[in-house]
Symmetry: C2
Subunit: 492 residues, 2 copies
């Protein structure tokens, strides 16, 4: 298998697009901006889903399912939210096709089947869900409601890229309802923390937790918490967001509850989501010029065994050994693939599994059988070693942990090297241009300044880190006073 991957240093963007397709993760479809997630890519997404789902349930959430469509009148009820998404809504206007009388064999939209009210394909589900919660909530006893939904959503983006920005994507969206402001705020913070834990522990991607500036907030939110990651090309990627929605949706949908003291109050809300965009972050953080590099926790196959042989007799002997080792490894909950295809050479297979990012590769040939050893190769470092058969299990178990940790440490070192403290705007532009990454700079807190910086440099405020220390300073652009540094970057 010839890889012919463009090098990252030559064209990072091209490298990414090629890698996604060549590693069999996803491809474009006949529908503008919509992707096909191929089995190998979907297997990684399934692992991510499974872990997230466990974490959601461990924090008391239940799954449910709400309609794909949102009637226009509900969609427009929360004004900020509606305004934020109106420009990218796919709209269902008809419910029937009929034979085209002018073109045999073709169908046409039946003009007689026009809907009285257009239906928006959900870009997010606050509207339909809060219209439902209205009927579920009468008293404080009905609260909190802690619900998550795994679903597809559609946002009609003009410029799309596989996983990173697609017209349809898969995600989960949590929607919770609370009796108090504090409880809702705590929930929004908690779920942002859950996202950070997941991304760091399973995806091996370090993230910075922070708050969005008003300009970057979710449409309809009072406060947006986020986790921000840094890609190898120095651009930031928003990996998850958790919104404190205040009483905005409760007011838009008139959702009141009887408090414990007997008064009536609007319900407090949160919503939070991560999407198949995380796949883009995973790919871009760890992979190299040879292909994908997967953290063992999320790799569909953690170990691949490639047999080496010439004669049919050798093939059989090696296969017997490979099958035995596979069984032993699987008994230790390790996911193993034995690639016994006879119509591909070992070198082709080596390339293929490098491209697909399998963390460990075991090669076994007749000589190894004699010596009761195998050759073990690490995908992340591309290093090889011989391991005695009877030491294979503990070595593999330990290496999988080592690799998981090493990927995180490497990504963290890169991220730390790419946070630059900057105090004047020339330096800001220079760092952005030459080095990239996050720029920690003072900001005067106004949307006007944020917009001016964006216009001049394309960099936006990625977040106001939750752990940013108070520090008196002056805005890198306007010179006006500031109390803490925020993080700027160009972003996906």
């Amino acid at each position: 298998m010839s890889k012919n991957l463009t090098k990252r240093s030559v064209d990072y963007s091209k490298w990414y697009n090629e890698l996604v397709v060549k590693a069999d993760l996803a491809e474009t479809s006949a529908v503008r901006g919509c992707m096909i997630i191929k089995p190998y890519g979907y297997a990684i997404w399934e692992k991510m889903q499974a872990e997230l789902d466990k974490m959601f349930k461990a924090t008391g959430h239940q799954n449910a399912y709400f309609p794909l469509f949102v009637p226009k009148s509900l969609f427009e009820a929360e004004e900020q939210n509606a305004e934020g998404f109106a420009k990218e809504c796919a709209v269902v206007t008809h419910y029937r096709l009929k034979n085209n009388p002018d073109k045999k064999g073709e169908l046409m939209v039946d003009p007689e089947a026009k809907l009285e009210e257009p239906l928006v394909v959900r870009p997010t589900s606050e509207a339909i869900i809060w219209n439902t919660y209205k009927n579920w909530i009468q008293s404080y006893r009905d609260l909190p409601i802690l619900i998550n939904q795994w679903a597809n959503v559609v946002r009609w983006e003009m410029r799309t890229r596989l996983f990173l920005r697609t017209a349809e994507f898969l995600w989960q969206e949590g929607h919770t309802a609370h009796a108090t402001e504090q409880e809702a705020l705590d929930e929004a913070r908690q779920m942002n923390q859950v996202y950070a834990d997941f991304v760091e522990r399973f995806m091996a991607i370090p993230v910075i937790q922070g708050l969005k500036s008003p300009a970057e907030r979710f449409a309809g939110a009072v406060e947006t918490f986020c986790i921000e990651a840094l890609m190898q090309d120095g651009k930031a990627l928003q990996a998850g967001t958790s919104h404190f929605l205040g009483q905005n949706f409760a007011k838009a949908f008139d959702v009141k509850f009887a408090t414990q003291s007997g008064s009536l109050d609007y319900v407090w809300a949160t919503s939070w989501g991560v999407s198949t965009r995380l796949m883009g972050a995973l790919i871009m953080t760890h992979s190299d010029d040879n292909g994908l590099v997967l953290p063992p926790q999320l790799a569909p196959d953690q170990v691949v065994i490639v047999p080496i042989y010439r004669s049919e007799e050798e093939r059989q002997a090696v296969a017997d050994k490979a099958e035995a080792l596979k069984k032993q490894l699987e008994a230790h909950q390790i996911r193993v693939k034995f690639d016994n295809r006879d119509n591909f050479k070992p070198g082709f297979k080596f390339n293929e599994y490098e491209l697909k990012g399998v963390p460990l590769r075991i090669a076994i040939g007749p000589k190894d059988l004699e010596k009761q050893q195998v050759e073990l190769a690490r995908r992340d470092t591309l290093t090889k070693q011989f391991v005695a058969e009877n030491e294979l299990i503990p070595v593999v178990v330990e290496l999988l942990e080592t690799i998981q940790e090493a990927l995180y440490v490497k990504a963290l070192a890169f991220r730390e090297e790419h946070i630059t403290v900057v105090d004047d705007f020339d330096h800001f532009q220079e760092v952005l241009h030459k080095k990239g990454g996050f720029i920690a700079a003072h900001w005067d807190g106004t949307e006007a300044t944020e917009q001016a910086i964006k216009n001049a440099t394309k960099a936006t405020i990625r977040c106001i880190p939750l752990d940013a220390p108070e520090e008196a300073g002056s805005c890198v652009f306007s010179g006006k006073p500031s109390t803490r540094r925020v993080l700027f970057a160009k972003a996906y």
Copy 2:
């Protein structure tokens, strides 16, 4: 909790509708014909998904994801399929909303954002998938392709019922591609068998495997295998279908492959699916006038513990015991809920869990503590017994198996009693009217006769059972010769 369920004998249909809502399974939404699957209902669906997914993977299938939308030109490529679904297609025609200049605060479809080609919201995915497979398949080495997708689909039904017939529903759809007719036929049969195994073993619903008559076949299929179940009101329910698609889609999308001998041939196809409709079958098969009855294999909570107490001291003592028993049961992989809410009486809770179909209920009061026993009640038989604490685990483990089996046996007995062999049309009408169920009758094999019977009785051919013995006879309607009996019934 007052149940006020309509009795099945009074109005089965009303009983069903009330039960779905009162047991917190699902409810109607603001979108015509679309349902909201509530957390309790979704938890059952998740268990069904998890088991089916395991069975699909055990038979070599992988999951993937294809776009929600199908461009009209692809949708109409396979003529039969297009014709079958055209009348119930939701169609996206625009990709943007804008402010309505005439009505402040309202949005309108932006006429300038009309799509060049309308997009059909998938009612099923053969078209978009075969258009994709075209690029994946060149040679016999690329076959078979064994893919499944978990997704939402939309079919604009005029008369809808929660779970049974909704405009949007959740399902899985398998789409496979094969080099030979035989292999595709085997796959279609295999997946029908997987469905039968799942429905019988996990849902405790006996099914009849059969073939659909041409009139009831999936649009675009050469042959449709199905599993048919019988509900308590004597109506049949199609619980799953598996289609042998021949080369219809390969021809429509021009998908050819180089065979091992070097010639070019069209690819053979199958597709197969089950949906949230299975929830309807589950509810209608086992439940009674007191509410839902769930098979233990799919019950989100298999055991509920309800404490009985007067004083706070008693409450604490009972809670300690309940928590200890819960832990012990959970250590045996039993799903247990301890309902320690203080603002509801035991009687209310008893009613609630009866309504929700929890298979076993444990009640513990101060007297039980003294006697080191608990009261154990079975939901299916409504019988109670006292069980010594130290025997609780084995008794519960065995009872859960017993209940699972008992539900199946009961449903099977009902089904067997409701297959009536009929040889003349007066009798046919009488049985249909007075007894319901399946009618095993001879049919002359023509669509005209099938349609005439349907017009006269509303009964359709549910299936030609796979195990129907050859038997010479004459058609119950036309008197023409027939070689085997088929099953007629009124159906959901």
